[in-house]
């Protein structure tokens, strides 16, 4: 007979404890809110799935979700190819490697709210370097507090500035791990530069790029601080992304029930999109 020692479970306890306090309990609190109505004084009334229905039917939610997808789509479609292109252009050996790496890492070291504030000042039409330059030197009317297009351009450019480096560094790590023999073999096989990229560099970068896209997707889908500091969701509601809207409902209007339901839907969408993407990207890894 095999000895069974149940005491091994004790080793799992600390982790269970940690996970319970930083994930399970907060999450269950939200679940709890999402099916109840409260008027303060810690009095709750059962509401069932009413908040979920309301959120899913609300035009406000649809619009915020649409803006959120648009934002994420735009930054992914810019940052990933741009990051790969910069990584390809970076030197792979020599004294410039550390210089490039440090320059690339710099934007990522800046705190989110500082990035937002920086870009806010940078783009002010009367005193900001970029804002003044565009308005008074180039002669384009550019004011993101008035013009939704300018606001959108600014938050996208700001995110590209802040996070393209992440894609660059990951892609670069993938590139430098390719043994020289691959390039030599390709040269002997008479491969063009495009073929080298398509059949050697891109496949070898695939794993790190999957991670890069996944990270950028999750981060940008949950982004809050930078656009909040930069535009505050405006002008009007034009740059109110999901997270900004959520905070408005939860803390501005103190509608805990709808906010909780919205959080759960938001969470489910993020989770599903990440899962879908990961499954698709790794699907043919095991295929014969």
């Amino acid at each position: 007979m095999k000895t069974q020692n149940q005491r091994a479970w004790l080793f799992v306890l600390p982790v269970l404890f940690l996970v319970a306090f930083n994930a399970l309990i907060p999450m269950m609190t939200v679940v709890n809110y999402s099916v109840q109505e409260t008027f303060g004084d810690n009095l709750f009334f059962w509401e069932g799935l009413r908040w979920f229905e309301e959120v899913l039917r609300s035009e406000r939610f649809h619009n915020a979700l649409g803006r959120q997808f648009f934002f994420t789509f735009m930054i992914l479609i810019i940052e990933v190819p741009l990051g790969v292109a910069i990584a390809l252009a970076m030197p792979r050996k020599g004294p410039w490697v550390p210089v490039c790496l440090v320059l690339m890492a710099l934007p990522m070291l800046i705190p989110w709210n500082v990035v937002g504030a920086m870009w806010n000042i940078f783009t002010l039409p009367d005193i900001g370097l970029l804002g003044y330059f565009l308005n008074h030197v180039v002669g384009i009317s550019y004011d993101m507090t008035q013009d939704p297009v300018a606001a959108w351009v600014t938050i996208i450019v700001m995110d590209v500035w802040h996070w393209t480096s992440l894609v660059v560094l990951l892609a670069y790590a993938g590139l430098v791990s390719i043994p020289n023999a691959y390039y030599q073999a390709a040269e002997i096989d008479g491969a063009s530069n495009w073929a080298v990229f398509r059949f050697i560099q891109l496949p070898k970068m695939k794993t790190v790029l999957t991670i890069a896209v996944l990270l950028r997707f999750m981060d940008s889908f949950n982004i809050y601080t930078e656009p909040f500091v930069l535009t505050g969701g405006g002008p009007g509601n034009s740059t109110t992304l999901l997270s900004i809207d959520l905070v408005k409902i939860a803390l501005g209007q103190f509608d805990l029930g709808p906010a909780a339901a919205m959080s759960l839907i938001y969470f489910a969408i993020t989770l599903f999109a990440s899962w879908l993407f990961y499954t698709v990207m790794t699907k043919d890894d095991n295929k014969a």
Partner: protein
């Protein structure tokens, strides 16, 4: 198909080489005959891979020329030289099937799909990978991956030379032997010149008709495996080839006769240019015999190792270690014995280079 001639080749990785020490290749003059099976043998860092990369065009030599059939290709890029190279680690295009991998070099050169199909199926059959043609190359075992990288070299009509840079490094021991005989078979079928770089003497001696031994950026000897074994022109070759390598013993030469300690050792023949002074005697362990008593070099047995087919005896004489290979009975450790050397196989080396010639001793 071509004869490859290296003339006055020197290469340095330094931008501004000063002395000989800065050169990875010191001075190479060598001709590889069309259709030969060559091995380039030498310890790690001796310049084998540098030489290979110069022939393939991945490196342009600092000085000297490379001629393919008298045509100067020194500055031509690899793709224009019509050569193939197989690397230490199998290089395959992960996302492609085996078929596409093999077809890749032909497609890059714009061949018709009909011709490609014919070539690829032919090569696949030769390499015994026909059943894997539609498999994704990333999923193959290392030995099959290495076969595919060989195949990409062989698939092109008329390659001038196929070069192998230690191709069996990552292959499991029991498959090494199989792949090596496959290579030999391929050489006989395609009749292309093949150069096989390795630091493993067994691989070199079994694959090649001719072995080129390199040390410190120089070619020490080029010859058939038998020549390398019997008459190494340099003590390095003697050491490097054979297991254990040649015994090299310091000796005094007095009026053309060699003395090891106080005993005179009979050489294979007269030594040129070494009438007097210090030199070295070279004798392979296979040609050392051990007796309990009698004339010869007296020595003490230190260690006897039984390697199966024969026994390797290590003895000490005049503070020098001497190996002997014996069949049958061997003395035991600690015993005092006398060693004698087979005269026709006893060579004299001066400053490392062979100095004796066969014939009547002086």
């Amino acid at each position: 198909m071509a004869q490859i001639k290296l003339s006055n080749l020197r290469h340095s990785y330094h931008p501004d080489p000063k002395g000989d020490a800065d050169y990875a290749l010191k001075k190479i003059d060598l001709t590889w005959e069309d259709g030969g099976a060559y091995a380039l043998l030498g310890p790690s860092g001796c310049g084998k891979s540098t030489l290979l990369n110069i022939i393939s065009g991945l490196l342009v030599p600092s000085e000297g020329k490379i001629l393919f059939d008298d045509q100067d290709v020194t500055t031509l890029p690899p793709a224009k030289r019509n050569i193939a190279q197989v690397f230490q680690f199998p290089v395959i295009y992960d996302t492609m099937t085996v078929y596409d991998n093999l077809a890749f070099p032909l497609r890059n050169r714009g061949r018709d799909e009909d011709i490609i199909k014919k070539r690829v199926t032919g090569i696949a059959e030769m390499l015994e990978v026909t059943d894997m043609l539609n498999v994704r190359a990333a999923n193959l075992s290392p030995d099959n991956k290495q076969k595919i990288s060989m195949g990409r070299g062989l698939v092109r009509e008329d390659v001038n030379v196929v070069m192998f840079d230690e191709p069996l490094t990552v292959i499991d021991p029991h498959l090494k032997w199989k792949l090596r005989s496959k290579l030999k078979e391929l050489h006989q079928r395609v009749k292309a010149t093949m150069i096989y770089v390795t630091h493993d003497q067994t691989e070199a001696l079994t694959f090649a008709d001719k072995v080129v031994v390199m040390q410190d950026g120089e070619i020490v000897q080029m010859g058939t495996p038998v020549e390398l074994f019997e008459r190494p022109t340099h003590t390095f070759v003697g050491h490097f080839i054979g297991s254990p390598g040649m015994n090299v013993l310091p000796c005094d030469v007095k009026e053309g006769a060699a003395f090891f300690g106080d005993a005179q050792v009979a050489l294979e023949g007269p030594a040129q240019g070494v009438a007097n002074g210090a030199a070295e005697i070279g004798i392979r362990p296979e040609f050392v015999t051990i007796e309990k008593s009698g004339a010869g070099v007296s020595a003490q047995v230190r260690k006897v190792s039984d390697v199966g087919r024969h026994k390797v005896v290590e003895a000490i004489a005049h503070n020098q270690r001497i190996h002997a290979i014996l069949e049958g009975e061997a003395p035991s450790a600690g015993e005092a014995v006398t060693l004698s050397f087979k005269q026709s196989q006893t060579r004299l080396y001066k400053d490392g280079w062979l100095a004796s010639t066969p014939g009547e001793a002086a």
